[in-house]
Structures are given as structure tokens and as C-alpha cells.
Symmetry: C2
Subunit: 216 residues, 2 copies
């Protein structure tokens, strides 16, 4: 009758001693998220179903609703982790780079690399209608990933904050558009390693064209 949806009571104070399944699963939230990510990795964003996620976690189709409300709630959690992973990748990409231009270049490559390596997750992260688009944590995670871009771009272009914001939007649009078009096979096959390597080369050329060494 009541719909509790605690959704974040798991790590409250003391550690849980019994993590393994019984009637009470114990780790259902994590199991459902892991199952969802596995489906996205295997079948892509269109292949996800709530029932399949429940099946893989070994519970009934109704079980997820107690933890996530509905499918959107579960996918929102998956998307948040996706944005966190993306932000990590963008952060790692700049770690060993000197110039701002090198950093931006590396971030662009890392962004598309993430999309090509995790297409299902990536597509779901930007499938607003399948997520709780107004969720505060989701918006924060998305913003945090975008901030990684803005920092590097601000270093590159200098200028006013407005100019920096414009340049950041430009960089994000370019790599995001390239990733999306690549995943829709507009630049050739993406299902084999050879195709992905060629696409990577194309991206490299695009970034060098738009942000040449001489500076903009």
C-alpha cells in the first residue's frame, strides 16, 4: 500500500553483515544496477527492460519498484554512475598533459573513446525521457562532467567568462555530435576494432582542424 522507496538507506551507520541472497536479497539495489549495466553493455540502450534486469538479479518484476520507484528511477541511478565514470575519464585524460590545447585534445579523444567503449551506457545517459531528468543528483553529475570541459577550455581561450562558456559549448557539441554520429554509423562501422580505430583518426583530424596548434 505505502510506497516507501528508501533508495539510500543501505549504508546507514553500521555495516551490514549478511550480504548474500535469501528472501531478503540484501544487495538488491547494487545487483539491479549491475544487471542494468550488463544489459546496456550487451544489448545497448534499446535492449534494456526492467523485467530483464530483475530476472538477472534473481527477483520478481515488482521488486525493483520498492527501491527505485520505477524503471526511470533505476536508469537514473545508472546514468549518474555513467556521468561519474565519464568525469573520471575526462580527468584522467588531462592528468599528464602540459598545454591547454593538449588537454582539450585529450579530453575530446577521451569523450568519444568513452562513448565508443560504452555505447549503451552513453546513449542512456542522454536519453532524457527514460530518466528522471529533474533528479538533483543526476543534474549535478551531468554538470560535474561538463565542468571538466569548461575548466580546460577556460585555460585555453582565456577571455571573458562568456567567451569561455561559448568555447566550452563548442567543444562539447563537437565531440558529442561526433560520438553520436559515429554510434549511428554515419562514419562507417563501429562494431569492429578496425572501424573504431579509423574513427578515432578522423576525430583526431577534426580536433586539429578546429583547434589548430597555432591557437585560436
Amino acid at each position: 500500500m505505502k510506497k516507501p522507496i528508501p533508495s539510500a538507506k543501505r549504508s546507514a551507520g553500521v555495516t551490514r553483515p549478511r550480504p548474500e541472497p535469501g528472501y531478503h536479497h540484501g544487495e538488491l539495489q547494487e545487483a539491479l544496477i549491475a544487471a542494468s549495466e550488463a544489459i546496456l553493455a550487451e544489448q545497448g540502450a534499446e535492449g534494456f527492460t526492467l523485467r530483464e534486469a530483475a530476472r538477472r538479479a534473481g527477483v520478481s518484476p515488482a521488486a525493483p519498484s520498492h527501491h527505485f520507484g520505477n524503471a526511470q528511477g533505476l536508469l537514473t541511478e545508472v546514468a549518474i554512475r555513467g556521468y561519474d565514470a565519464l568525469a573520471d575519464a575526462l580527468r584522467k585524460a588531462v592528468s599528464d598533459k602540459r598545454s591547454a590545447r593538449e588537454k582539450l585534445h585529450a579530453q575530446g579523444m577521451a569523450y568519444v573513446g568513452f562513448a565508443l567503449r560504452h555505447p549503451g551506457r552513453f546513449q542512456m545517459m542522454f536519453a532524457n525521457k527514460r530518466l528522471l531528468a529533474d533528479d538533483a543528483r543526476l543534474r549535478q553529475a551531468s554538470r560535474a562532467a561538463g565542468a571538466e570541459f569548461e575548466m580546460v577550455v577556460a585555460e585555453l581561450v582565456g577571455g571573458t567568462p562568456k567567451q569561455a562558456k561559448t568555447a566550452a559549448a563548442a567543444a562539447w557539441s563537437t565531440v558529442h555530435g561526433f560520438a553520436k554520429l559515429a554510434l549511428e554509423e554515419k562514419f562507417g562501422s563501429v562494431s569492429n576494432e578496425a572501424g573504431r580505430r579509423e574513427i578515432t583518426i578522423t576525430l583526431d583530424r577534426i580536433l586539429n582542424y578546429l583547434w589548430p596548434a597555432s591557437g585560436a
Copy 2:
């Protein structure tokens, strides 16, 4: 038993005299495509269902299969018309422009304008998994729209064909990414006219930043 799927017997030689509904609809293909486009306009890409399209056309859920095979077939036809409309918009955008830079700028604005004015259709055009991605006519229509870009970019950059292709991919990626991110509300609300106008201004700035008046 047999699955005919004529799919293009409509305008074969003589004109059809009786276009209005009976048991034989007469114009079911067009009616289904129109219904689908209406759904996409009203509900977006996620709102489309084959049964709803059939409902609007006044036929049973099984009727579309005789003309389009399945939902992918119908949506492929819708996507083809979408690409045709997009190519038209890109063509019209350059018609009154002088310099190559003006043309590219106008095309970019037109591309995003199309996406913002027809979000459902636009999203469906790039939802490969919901279409017959290998359909020859679909690929041709998509290529034709892309060619509008390549022509203008070749005029702008000159250089080798490879350089032109890189530049075209860069331009397409940027405007496509911007459109996609805008539709996912990453640049603010897009549901009201004020929001759309601000987004248009942002795009204008991005294009001026990436392709400045001084030339590249």
C-alpha cells in the same frame, strides 16, 4: 500467409480514381506516414507506437504490416522524408548567401533550427535501432543531406578532398552535437520560444568562434 509488402505500387502508371476510405483504404501508406509524423510532432520519438499510428489511420493494428512489413519499415519511410526535408532546409539556407562562410553559418543555423522545430522527427531520423538502418533509400537520403554540408565546406576550406571531408565532418558534428544536447535540455529549456531564441544565440556565437570571419 504470403507477405507481399508492395511498398511502392501506389503510383504505378495510371492514376488511382478512388482515394477515400472503405474496406480498402486506398491511401493507407500515406495515411500511416502522416499519422506517424503527427505522433512524433505531438509526443516525440518515444511516444510513437505502431498501434497508435494504425488507430489514427482508422485501421487495425495488423494493417501496417502489409505495407511496411513492421514498425521499422514505417519509421524508415518517415525518416527518409525527414532527411529530404532536412536537405531542403539546408539548400534553402544557402540560397541567398554570398560567401562560403555565410553559407556554412546559415546551414548550421538551419540544421539546429530543423531539430528544434521538429524534435520528434529529428530524433527518430537518428534512432538507428528503430529503423531499417541498411535500407538503401534511407542511406541515400541521409547521404544526400550530408552532401549539402560537404559542398559548402569544400567551397570554404578548399584544399585536398581529405581536408574537405574532415572539415565537413567537423561542421556536421558540431551542429549535430549542439542540436542533440539542446534537445536534452543541456543548454536550458527548449520548450518555450524564449528558451529556443537564447539557444539560437548561443549557437550563433559557437559558429562564429569555430569559423571566424578571418577564415580558417
